[in-house]
């Protein structure tokens, strides 16, 4: 299936090649994105935008970023041919982009390395971050430790419970983890609280947002910092497969690992792309976190306009997912546009399918994926058998599953 065939009745006139020129000067991706913040933060965002644009094409900055990615993160991450699993599925060849092998265990660190360099340039002595699964929190605490910055991490109280291991990791790294008791006590509430902190301490604090959401310029810079994933995958595909893959699959919470993989392929019309959202108990039950696949209404939250799960009165909905990192009612604005123009097909994997994929990869390849990444694997299980053995799928294995062992054990009825 080519990407253009997946385009529904395309509403916007945006061509795929136009997608590389987004966002516009005001941070809009078509009707999405923007900078919907209270006035106190406008200045800080303008400043961040200026700083970033002055460094974006600066060879010294890029060299520093590349150096850290190579020697601190351990890039490039391998593109691994999961032969045994591919064979058992009986269809396309599955290749795993091994972001789980990065220092700290997920793609999140690509972005925190980049933003930490920005923080260093701005001279702010303190960083804050929100976290869901704790991967972004760990990655932020890690770069803070390395640069000697004070670090406070906001985490929903429910996530503090289900990701205890990462909470302790952050504390060992010297960060303060602040449980957020308001609202639904998950990722969106952690982001609210981080924004409140930032508004109060904007003079001395750099806010490291962990995904391609938030007000402009965050969706842009988080995408840029993660695009190393797709650049490598593209090069590795040419080297190892001898051509570009037929399809890419990545899970979508806020959407940073997906955009990181997809972005460098956006103009390759023959490469189909699948973003996998959290189906939770099933989209039809309402207990999910799939704003794109469920066609949620448009809305504004955390500084940008996007597809946003909310009720008829505009109150943001409770979400549900087995994975804390996908448990978010919105999605990065660039994904919203890519959905509308049909460049990416957004689908879901339900909790039970995710667990099955988690176990299968662990058993058959000896790789334990993060539950977030297992959403992408679950869709590979669906897609691969519909394709031929001479076709190729690259799946973003965005993180490793150590942090989820407790969650899975609990489902298995095991207490430690």
């Amino acid at each position: 299936m080519t990407a253009s065939e997946t385009a529904p009745n395309t509403v916007l006139k945006t061509k795929f090649s136009d997608l590389t020129r987004m966002p516009d000067a005001r941070g809009h991706f078509g009707p999405y994105g923007g900078r919907f913040v209270s006035e106190t933060l406008s200045f800080a965002l303008e400043e961040l935008e200026k700083t970033y644009f002055s460094l974006r094409d600066d060879p010294d900055f890029q060299a520093e970023f590349d150096y850290d990615l190579a020697h601190y993160v351990g890039r490039p991450s391998p593109l691994y041919h999961a032969k045994r699993w591919s064979e058992s599925l009986g269809g396309a060849q599955i290749w795993l982009k091994r972001e789980d092998l990065n220092h700290t265990g997920a793609h999140k660190v690509n972005n925190t390395i980049g933003q930490a360099l920005l923080a260093k340039k701005t001279g702010k002595p303190r960083i804050i971050a929100e976290t869901g699964a704790g991967q972004h929190g760990v990655a932020s605490a890690t770069v803070a430790a390395r640069l000697g910055l004070e670090c406070d991490i906001y985490m929903g109280a429910e996530d503090v419970q289900r990701q205890k291991l990462n909470v302790y990791r952050m504390r060992l790294l010297g960060a303060r983890v602040i449980p957020v008791e308001s609202g639904t006590r998950t990722l969106k509430d952690a982001m609210n609280e981080a924004l409140r902190d930032w508004v109060t301490n904007v003079d001395n604090t750099f806010y490291i947002i962990g995904t391609v959401a938030g007000p402009h310029p965050y969706p842009l810079l988080v995408r840029d910092f993660n695009a190393v994933v797709g650049r490598e995958a593209r090069r590795q595909s040419l080297e190892q497969i001898g051509r570009l893959p037929d399809a890419l699959i990545a899970c979508v919470g806020g959407g940073s690992n997906a955009l990181g993989l997809f972005y460098p392929f956006v103009e390759d019309d023959d490469v189909a792309m699948y973003g996998v959202e959290a189906g939770g108990d099933g989209v039809e039950t309402g207990r999910h976190a799939a704003p794109l696949a469920s066609n949620a209404p448009h809305g504004v939250l955390h500084g940008n306009r996007t597809y946003l799960m909310s009720d008829e009165a505009g109150q943001v909905s409770d979400t549900h997912s087995i994975s804390a990192g996908l448990d978010y009612p919105g999605v990065g604005p660039e994904h919203a546009l890519w959905k509308d123009v049909g460049r990416v097909k957004y689908v879901v994997a339900n909790d039970n399918e995710v667990l099955e994929a988690f176990r299968e990869l662990t058993h058959m390849e000896g790789i334990m994926p993060a539950l977030e990444s297992a959403h992408a694997l679950a869709h590979a299980k669906v897609l691969a058998p519909t394709m031929r053995p001479d076709q190729h799928i690259v799946v973003n294995l965005s993180g490793r599953g150590d942090k989820d062992i407790m969650t899975v054990a609990k489902i298995d009825g095991i207490e430690f």
Binding site: F43, K188, N201, V300, Q315
Partner: protein
């Protein structure tokens, strides 16, 4: 003339400063809100800011967050606020009412629908916390054509360049946020506020009203010396929070908190 402009021109003639209370609609339950509004007017309110409860009030501290939670638990929706204003207008046709809240509930019912309803029930102004003028292209003209004032915030971090843009777009009054922080934070510094208001005077004729951090008669009077209006929210909402087991006493308490400020400001 819009009721807000009317009110500020009267105040100017009288040499008085505006007292602007904020309460969250539907807190502690929708049936109380209109009564509270009348009580606030009795105590000397010149304009009422009626908060639209939102699930994710990012610019608010714990006091107003909890007020939103209480109001939402009681099912308060934007359409219910419209009914409240309509009911308020049956007996009060002169006190301006400003709806204050976040953009998403308005996005959800649609800008035009919102503007139509607001105008028809007698709303006078709209302050959307997470919508700076740059993002108001679409809703701005819809408000303007219905004589609804688009009120914007100016913060201590706002550059002069931005302030000029905000002044050019603003209507009704300018809401100066007295401190870096969320609502209900404690440390307003009146000298600091005066310093920030001075350049704004050169940019606009809009009345300059100050909110965040005003908790009692003393702070209200201090701010009234340098500003055209004083906005008080968390100090009132706190009273509601403390009296949930005796809601019938709340209107009286709101009245006495506000009356103390009125007296201090007018002294």
């Amino acid at each position: 003339m819009n009721r807000i402009d009317q009110r500020f021109s009267e105040l100017k003639q009288q040499g008085r400063k505006a007292l602007i209370p904020y309460i969250t609609a539907g807190d502690p339950a929708p049936q109380y809100t209109v009564g509270f509004m009348h009580a606030l007017v009795d105590a000397g309110a010149d304009v009422i800011e009626l908060g639209v409860p939102f699930s994710d009030p990012m610019a608010d501290g714990p006091v107003i967050q909890k007020a939103c939670e209480r109001a939402l638990k009681q099912g308060t929706r934007l359409v219910d606020l419209m009914q409240m204003v309509k009911e308020f207008r049956q007996t009060d046709t002169t006190t301006p009412v400003v709806l204050m809240g976040y953009l998403n509930p308005i996005e959800r019912i649609g800008y035009e629908n919102f503007a139509d309803q607001a105008a028809s029930v007698g709303v006078d102004g709209v302050l959307i916390v997470d919508m700076p003028p740059e993002e108001a292209d679409e809703i701005g003209p819809l408000l303007k054509s219905r004589d609804l004032a688009a009120i914007f915030l100016v913060a201590p971090t706002t550059s002069n360049e931005r302030a000029a843009t905000i002044c050019a777009h603003g209507e009704g009054y300018l809401y100066y946020v007295s401190l870096k922080g969320v609502t209900g934070a404690a440390t307003l510094n009146a000298e600091d506020v005066a310093e920030h208001l001075a350049p704004l005077r050169g940019m606009t004729d809009l009345p300059l009203c100050v909110g965040f951090g005003i908790r009692d008669g003393v702070t209200a009077a201090e701010v009234a010396k340098v500003a055209d209006g004083v906005i008080v929210g968390s100090a009132l909402v706190n009273r509601i929070a403390e009296s949930l087991d005796a809601p019938e006493t709340i209107a009286g308490q709101l009245k006495s908190v506000l009356a103390e400020m009125r007296t201090a400001m007018d002294a």
